[in-house]
Symmetry: D2
Subunit: 337 residues, 4 copies
């Protein structure tokens, strides 16, 4: 049994991590913290956890928390994580950071997140926690930069084609649709029920902070710089991201062939499922699970990939626990079945 | 053509008043104001109004606005209205206040809204703007206290039985369900999409500030003090209130008889529709309209009344315009067809 | 490991039973059947189960299925179950029937379900599977009549007061609100998205087939015949039932006292949680879980109980598995954590 | 006052036509028909229309209806319209057909709709009713082929660039998202609330029957054959289509320049609004109205156009009435304000 703490326990991602860990055989939740008015049992803040998680949710005190955990999940807004990560690393505790703070080089970070990075020293040791691509590095990681939700859905949907060198790397268009939990848990008029319900919008078109993250990883895989077109949309549902990805083929390929390439690429990866030819995944197939379901369709010289994840599971908390499982030698699927 | 202003133009009720007035033959919108960062065309704040309402939405300045309007609608939070109403009345402009500030005696107001009333002098001249009961007073009113959304649905659902002296006045239970616009347009975690969607809750059980308003009007009709049991619920939809009202009959009455009583009581009232025996109304029948649809069912000695309104129309903006129509001699249904 | 089968595997309740059993330590799903066009892997019908439940979903053949199961769940429409139950009982297999077919005496059944009962012989041996009240009988049951969703929420919300003889048994009013899965999985215009979304309605007012079921059990507890007033409503959400229950007190009792009575009544019952004084449960607290959360409020001589369950979990599949756990000597919470 | 009839009055499009005509100054609804069990007042089928549309909704009898109308709207499934259109044309009545039956050449129609066309003679006289492009032809039309919802949003979003010859016509990708009314009003498990709510899916990827319609019109404008990539998605909301369209620029152009081109192209068109540079439209801006709002963004050599319409208004009934207004010499915006 390892002792685990969650910082930012009252955010959607933090709450989801806790929900998963409750049924995890290998861990004990020993510490919870969040920016709250008064310290009280977590189950008093979220009655859903009554009888399951009744330990006190404390105000943030990383130094203290570090004494009572082996590993910590940080479910914090970007800019905040980089102030807390060093504390835990110094105390030789492993950290899984769900924020964006350690996913990018300092300069790119500053450009897209509008702030000088305060912990440049640890950026190089951070491992990008996408196990389907980097499980070896994840095993030994002290600090995991847990991928963003949009990047997870897009990267998993494009990677096999880049490895196969089957597409024009300058042609990638990702049209992504996300549920509202992706925006986080905070008072915000734009996030209120009546503004989102019966509405649909594109936002931050090609200017979303997840774009450089996608570009970086896809460029690494392609072995050359690439720049995608990325349009996120907000959909009136709680959870789920569906990314419809358009790629120009440079090799003759039909749907059957594309399906084969993807199935081979993800062979042995427990959380990626490729739809058979003629079928496409949808949000309901994966919501509440840690799966990424991908469907494919070739039309002319265009490959269309439809990639679906639950933004709070494979797009955040689920992937974070998947990383922990690999780091700690648990079964990769433990707690995520 | 009368000149009309709207204070609190960016709230749900204010926006709805404007939406209605755009198609109203007798009025011209000359002034809009709201608490905003910068003054700009209303259609820049709400692009839906582009080409329809392009006049500037100003920061609040009642004295100035009063010079350019014949009548004003106040779509403000309670406590704020009572500071602005006197300005317009002093300038001899008619006021339709959609807040709760002039619906109750000062002492009751203080008990339920937690504030000393700042304009006690004008409370007595305020007319409770429920036209189906008080149209004569509305005609001559200088100041309308526009009814709350819950009270409108409950009062219209109970009034005929009280007039008929057919129920035990101590037996009234109103179980009301409201859409989310009823809570107003503001940044609030409790109102965020993911907190309301796929959720349902009872709140302020028998402690909602609309209860004294309902008690006051029903007591007036009954000719004796009564106290109802009132449970509001929040439902994941944008608009609509459905009140299921339970009353103990003191007269032998079947559903057919109850329907007759209600149809007679509301004969000639254009916005109340009574369902035929065996039928019940639902939100979709009235959403977007100014109708109050009421269905009835007698079982044993219990009368169940189901009363449906659109909380932003008959429950707020629609009723406000209905009151204006009566005050200004327009057809009662003008703009509300 | 016991061998379990599910008949009606493609209905919402059947699918939910399977979802729960996948993570249950004591059972192996050996047989699935449903009325389908062609026999194929269950995961081909519901891709969500890919890699988890890939066994074939067969066309109904009870005799055959009986050979390969120890216990069977029937997720069927009423009228169908009573034709299949005898087959499994004859084969000495234990049956948990989620339909209404064995919850009522034959004559009451005929009145409310409009059909002569075809298996009168087995009605007397059926145990009403509400473990919080009848766990001793459940232990030895060969046939479980799994309670309806509305009855579960209402009965658990009223039972303690009846046992306490603290209320006027003729005064019970249950105003229930349900999500759309309660209506079952079938092509029906009234159940289509655009008819339910942004809508809300009362239906079958005091004529719902769950009323006699509630009356029967509450009368048993009260020790005298009673007849409640019951109004179901359809709410635009997938899951959850919230019942707001009004009872007239015959004993002086405040909220604090009521909370105590309920907490004592349900002491040791793992799936009923009573909210502390001043708090009320909501759907989000219990959706996806097998909990029934109950909140209480006394006002005057009226007790208001708010009872929340997930209609597919505690209201159907979860309770069915809870019954199986008790019948088979598993931990009562196994698979339902 | 012209006499108007609606065939298929109980479908979503038919109902919407009626809702609009109720407030139209120039028409009188004289005939309504639909495939129904018994003939009764339209307001008995849709209580929302009580007191507004109480005339009888009859069973279909085109010959009879033709005697009592000057113009008829057909809100029918494809394949049915072509059997009824000839009846009205023969009776010299003008027809606005909301189905797909007269939008394509007979051979293309057969390929995509799987049926031999039964009224080939009238296909050539049908005018494609997209007034922003074909108002002159609409004026004199006897038969209007009212455009599909997806085509309206895509064609209006691409047309200016084709006229300007500013894009590679082989590069057009339309990623469209639609609300559920787009699928029509019928009992269908796939359209049930619980299948669509909290779900999101792509469907008929590049195989949707609206694709040839889009290709045909865009090819006409471009003056050369083109073939787009078209991916429709189903979103959990009642109304609205948002199409995100990707085009490769062949001319140097920035967002400012693109906005100018679109504003000029649609100058004087009352129902198309182009967002200023830096702004994008969303569904809430146009839902319930006949507007098509278009926002633009250039990134590298890619132009992204976001085109929003209400699928039942500009995408069906609203556009149909807009066509009628032009055909009959009414103000183009009458009834659509």
């Amino acid at each position: 049994m390892i002792k685990v703490g969650v910082v930012g326990a009252t955010g959607y991602a933090g709450e989801e991590v806790i929900k998963i860990l409750v049924n995890h055989k290998g861990v004990k939740i020993t510490e919870l913290s969040a920016v709250i008015d008064k310290e009280e049992p977590f189950s008093s803040i979220f009655p859903a956890f009554k009888g399951k998680v009744d330990i006190i949710c404390k105000k943030p005190n990383p130094e203290e928390m570090a004494k009572n955990v082996d590993l910590v999940f940080l479910g914090l807004p970007h800019r905040i994580s980089m102030e807390i990560v060093p504390v835990f690393l110094k105390a030789k505790k492993r950290v899984i950071d769900l924020s964006a703070d350690y996913r990018l080089p300092a300069d790119t970070y500053k450009t897209w997140y509008g702030a000088e990075h305060k912990d440049k020293a640890n950026i190089p040791i951070a491992v990008y926690g996408l196990p389907e691509l980097y499980s070896d590095k994840v095993k030994k990681a002290e600090l995991i930069a847990n991928p963003g939700c949009y990047p997870t859905s897009v990267i998993l949907g494009v990677a096999p084609m880049l490895k196969e060198k089957a597409i024009d790397v300058s042609s990638i268009i990702a049209d992504s649709k996300s549920g509202a939990t992706g925006a986080g848990r905070k008072p915000d008029l734009a996030l209120s029920f009546c503004e989102i319900n019966e509405n649909l919008k594109a936002y931050k078109v090609n200017e979303h902070q997840h774009k450089p993250e996608i570009n970086k990883i896809l460029s690494d895989i392609a072995g050359k710089e690439l720049d995608i077109v990325f349009t996120p949309h907000l959909v009136p549902m709680n959870r789920g991201i569906l990314s419809t990805i358009y790629m120009k083929l440079v090799k003759g390929l039909d749907t059957k062939g594309a399906v084969e390439i993807y199935k081979n690429f993800y062979k042995g990866k427990p959380f990626v499922r490729i739809s058979d030819e003629g079928k496409l995944p949808m949000i309901r197939d994966i919501v509440g699970s840690n799966y990424c379901d991908i469907g494919l369709k070739v039309t002319g010289n265009t490959l269309i990939a439809v990639s679906c994840i639950d933004n709070l599971k494979k797009g955040a908390a689920g992937q974070a626990v998947q990383n922990m499982n690999i780091m700690c030698g648990f079964d990769e699927t433990e707690g995520l079945g």
